[in-house]
């Protein structure tokens, strides 16, 4: 896994719905764009909301705190998720 540092875009102001059946809704108040996202994506965004910036390794550790998930699969999903968030303008990958 490539080590990167991820931060929420300065413009992104996120609100999140409750978790419903492993999905929730993310609202970017800066653009009013609204997304349905899976639980994992919601967890990542919550972690980013709580911290200014996070290393991908820290995110990975956070979402696999119990250590019961397949790490290789998580890395793959995390990469896809971060790329999608970057495309949507929600996060910036500020170092790698």
């Amino acid at each position: 896994m490539t080590l990167r540092v991820v931060t929420l875009c300065s413009a992104a102001r996120l609100k999140m719905s409750p978790l419903w059946q492993d999905e929730c809704v993310v609202f970017d108040a800066a653009s009013c764009n609204t997304y349905a996202v899976p639980k994992l994506s919601a967890q990542i965004l919550e972690m980013l909301q709580a911290e200014k910036a996070l290393k991908t390794s820290t995110i990975l550790a956070g979402i696999n705190a119990k250590g019961d998930l397949d790490e290789q699969e998580l890395i793959r999903v995390l990469d896809i998720t971060l790329e999608e968030f970057q495309r949507l303008g929600l996060i910036e990958i500020i170092a790698s």
Binding site: S17, W20, C32, T34
Partner: protein, 308 residues
């Protein structure tokens, strides 16, 4: 305040100059016109609505008139004016009444931002409202007309008006727009329905309206709790099917169907989340109205709505 049941053609001059004021709760509309088809339509569809009088405050001042261009001599047209502006191009004169209904929808959708407005039909039973959200052509209005023909209260055929503070739906029961095949389907389904003149060759095809049930008009100040969000779809020969739908995707679809979600911003988001959180969400496919009515009759109110 009287009701609009004493209309007479001799009043048309007065309608043109002073206008007629109608209370379409929660709005008051003042209409100026001397076009016979519009006057006849108002008499047919709006005779039970309160008439507050010409001195009452009106939210919208609209008029329907023949434009004064030379064009009018060989192809008569009708123009819709709102507060002195002309938001649309004129339509053929025969389409004057539908233009009034469409124009009024436009006025509400573009100006009433104290509500979160969703493009949806809304019907109610025992205080619980079903929001029927769907794009044009999916059978939403046909289903709505059928449901109100079988005892559901009409809150709206076109606009779900959601109060962001209370999350309740404010009724605006107006005539139900029917088009193309659905006109004969509803005539057959409810022979006692009051359905007005048919207008052909509009941008929506052949159109008419079905009068709102009097009971719905009389209860137009009773708000309702959103209990079900349903995405209906007519599919020829399909078996009736009601399937639970993801709440997260329901929020996104409602946002896409809203007229002012982006304008309200976080207020709109919070309102949608509140509604979807308390409501049951479904996708619904049907081909026969009787089957659809049976499914709706069996809907169970979610706990938050039962408690209200």
């Amino acid at each position: 305040m009287s009701s609009f049941n004493s209309f007479d053609e001799t009043l048309s001059a007065q309608f043109s100059d002073k206008g007629v004021t109608l209370e379409l709760a929660p709005f008051v509309v003042r209409i100026y016109t001397d076009i016979p088809s519009v006057l006849a339509g108002l008499q047919l569809y709006y005779s039970e609505y309160p008439v507050p009088g010409s001195s009452a405050f009106a939210d919208f001042h609209v008029s329907l008139r023949r434009p004064r261009s030379a064009y009018r001599w060989f192809r008569p047209q009708v123009s819709f004016e709102f507060d002195g502006t002309v938001p649309f191009k004129p339509l053929p004169y025969e389409q004057a009444y539908p233009m009034f209904e469409w124009g009024l929808n436009w006025c509400i959708a573009n100006h009433c931002h104290r509500f979160l407005m969703i493009h949806a039909a809304v019907v109610e039973r025992e205080g619980c409202a079903a929001i029927l959200a769907a794009p044009p052509g999916s059978g939403k209005s046909t289903l709505c007309a059928a449901l109100v023909s079988r005892g559901w209260r009409l809150l709206s055929d076109e606009l779900a008006l959601i109060d962001p503070a209370t999350l309740r739906i404010t009724p605006i029961p107006r005539p139900i727009g029917l088009k193309n095949d659905s006109i004969e389907i509803i005539r057959h389904f409810n022979p006692s329905a009051v359905i007005g003149p048919v207008v052909k060759d509009t941008r929506k095809g052949t159109v008419t309206h079905m009068k709102a049930p009097v009971g719905s008009i009389l209860r137009s100040r009773e708000t309702a709790c959103p209990a079900w969000v349903i995405f209906p779809r007519y599919e020829r020969d399909a078996a009736v099917r009601l399937r639970p739908h993801s709440k997260a995707r329901t929020v996104v679809r409602l946002a896409e169907n809203s007229f002012n979600y982006t304008l309200l911003g976080a207020i709109g988001f919070d309102a949608l989340i509140g509604i979807v959180d308390q409501a049951e969400c479904y996708e619904f496919t049907y081909s026969k109205l009787d089957d659809a009515i049976s499914i709706f009759a069996d809907l169970k109110a979610p706990p938050l709505c039962q408690a209200r």
